[in-house]
Subunit: 404 residues, 2 copies
């Protein structure tokens, strides 16, 4: 049995967090102000794949109530080909009925006309309040300047990342350069960041030569151990979308394993940036379960703790309340002997063999924003990490005050 896992599922690849989607060759981007937001900040982003390849992979929310743009985009990416992604903040276009789907469709048509491509190759993403129709006059007027602003430089990548922000305090960017090819991306949202519904939107780009099938496998593997294990408040959005576009512009066909690691490393970096920018949060919490029988059971245990409001409020109060960890563990179906579990918080094993361990006074939660919780089930050799935040007054404030 291993005592400690590698928390970064991709190991230690170098990530540049100053560069976004345009770090990969063959891509242009823009971020402009169309007027969806009352605040007057940028709210329309475009990412265009200039090829020569136009492969795409995507992962969408598993929420059965999905927004119109998700329904549209699912159909677009089903054939593994896309040329552009258009994203707006200031309105989720979710639960908007037939009119909402028409709006997503029409948005894709307008982008397709402006770029000289088919509407069926345009992915659409929206974020904001549910149950409000998207103002299509704003979209129509805003798209021409957005297309006009398209550029392939670093500033354009940053501008696109800024235009998809809602309550994010900073844009989230990440890029990794491999052997002649690059994987890059931008993200917004997650949990407390996005009181509108915690919508997470991620656009990844690569100039590697990769088939759409290989692209989909790499993306699914990466999302599974990064975004899907970032569980800020247990709430699942109607709009979550992660899309990966490949231009092939590097002319290099990477090793599949190396490419997968790069995609995972970029996703991991973006997921960590999302957790770290959760405005309502005072602590970033990393919950790792080790020595489970299966990875799935390890994930269940970590996630159960990540979703316990009692545990999350205790961490906010700088209280290493391991009883609340154990009580969350006890609600899972994972294999374990209750009298053998150890819980270690910030290096102090406060619970040993299911009972009182080292003195809880030895745990310092006030010194650092980062908190690590290690749960040793002593049942097998599988592990999994889930990242979350504490539950704070600011979380309640942001999420109660949002739409009123």
């Amino acid at each position: 049995m291993r005592a400690y896992p590698s928390q970064n599922p991709a190991g230690t690849l170098t990530i540049d967090t100053a560069r976004g989607v345009t770090a990969a060759r063959g891509f242009r981007a823009s971020g402009t102000t169309a007027g969806f937001k009352d605040s007057g900040t940028p709210d329309l982003a475009l990412v265009v794949n200039d090829g020569p390849q136009h492969a795409v992979a995507a992962v969408y929310t598993t929420n059965r109530i999905s927004a119109a743009p998700v329904q549209w985009s699912r159909a677009v990416t089903a054939d593994g080909r896309a040329t552009a992604v258009v994203l707006n903040s200031g309105g989720a276009n979710a639960c908007t009925g037939a009119q909402g789907f028409q709006a997503a469709h029409r948005t894709a048509e307008l982008v397709g006309e402006a770029l000289g491509t088919g509407a069926g190759d345009v992915v659409v993403c929206s974020t904001g309040l549910i149950g409000v129709q998207l103002p299509m006059d704003v979209m129509e007027a805003g798209l021409a300047p957005a297309v006009e602003a398209l550029a392939d430089d670093a500033a354009a990548g940053v501008a696109a990342a800024r235009a998809i922000m809602t309550t994010d305090s900073v844009p989230k960017l990440a890029a990794h350069e491999g052997g002649g090819w690059t994987v890059a991306g931008m993200a917004k949202g997650a949990g407390m960041l996005a009181p509108g519904l915690a919508t997470m939107l991620v656009v990844l780009t690569t100039d590697a030569e990769v088939s759409s099938d290989a692209l989909q496998w790499a993306l699914q593997d990466a999302v599974k151990v990064t975004f899907n294990r970032t569980d800020s408040d247990g709430c699942m959005s109607t709009n979550d979308t992660v899309v990966l576009l490949a231009s092939g512009a590097s002319g290099v066909r990477p090793d599949e394993f190396e490419f997968g690691q790069a995609v995972t490393a970029v996703c991991h970096s973006l997921a960590q940036q999302l957790i770290h920018d959760a405005e309502g949060a005072a602590h970033d919490i990393e919950i790792t379960t080790v020595n489970a029988v299966t990875e799935s059971q390890a994930e269940d245990v970590s996630r159960s703790v990540a979703r316990s409001n009692l545990f999350k409020t205790a961490i906010f109060g700088n209280d290493p309340n391991w009883g609340r960890v154990l009580s969350a563990v006890g609600t899972t179906d994972a294999a374990f002997d209750p009298d053998r579990i150890d819980v270690t918080i910030n290096g102090v094993t406060v619970c040993r063999d299911g009972a009182i361990g080292d003195a809880r006074e030895g745990v310092d939660l006030a010194a650092d924003r980062r908190v690590t919780v290690l749960i040793d089930l002593k049942a097998g050799d599988a592990d999994a990490t889930v990242w979350t935040n504490d539950l704070t007054h600011d979380y309640v404030e942001e999420n109660s005050a949002y739409s009123t």
Copy 2:
């Protein structure tokens, strides 16, 4: 399909909320101060069944990490016979290892010796902080005065209910008199009330002549639609216990259906009192799902909404945010067509056929503490109600400040 279900699963039986466990004949009770709590308030309760029958039924937490008193009491009630229940607040005796189990065992021995009965007929319940050993010197010294104080009058029932309070602001009592027999009870805890871990302790008494098998069936049926649908913060305690003692002192053997309805009505009243006394809460929320294919699916849908932090903070902010209701519904496996769901909040159908319904401005959430949410799946004819509270600043405050 029915439009509205009966929210009280027991119909409209008359409940006296001023009388506790001594309302049923054949029972004595006491509530005294042993000294488990630093506050000096009562913290030791006894309920004694003087017969002639000594039937018992019990339902315990399904948390796999269960406290020592739960492990002890499971064994005690397995044979359907018990003569007394001893309960302490000021310490949960959970995650306390072999020493903790010895403490529960020794407590039962001491009570048995004082009452002239076997330790194997004494149920033990504890509530308070996890991971702290129960001070047995306090227990030993406290039991003699507790036995001394035993009485069969109404005041003794109230005193017992007071002695199990933690952060409860009032004792919870309920009694129903049927055709010559009575079902009565007391409760403490639930959700935000009990930051220690939301421990819920309930002791019910009846003077009806009922076999322990029939008692168990009636109790399980009642708990299923009352306490198990009271979901204040989604956290499950290591100590939850509901125990029903039957003395047979009325000499009346009731109709099984009528008896079951009475047990359900008393449990429903106690569960509502728990929700209403949740100190951190500003709203009591009743979430009813109608026209589901099965009752289990209706319960899943109601519970999913009850556990959404985003929905619960919205209600705190007096925001009828139906998008957060739908997004929680969408995470369940219940059968429904997303384009047919209606959501009605306080009588206003804000979502109709999965899209925008009547104006949300018509919903007044500030006027009353009680909020009703009705979700119509239009898929079958089953329904279920789950009761919860909103997520407030006071919840965060109480649960972060508790043990530090």
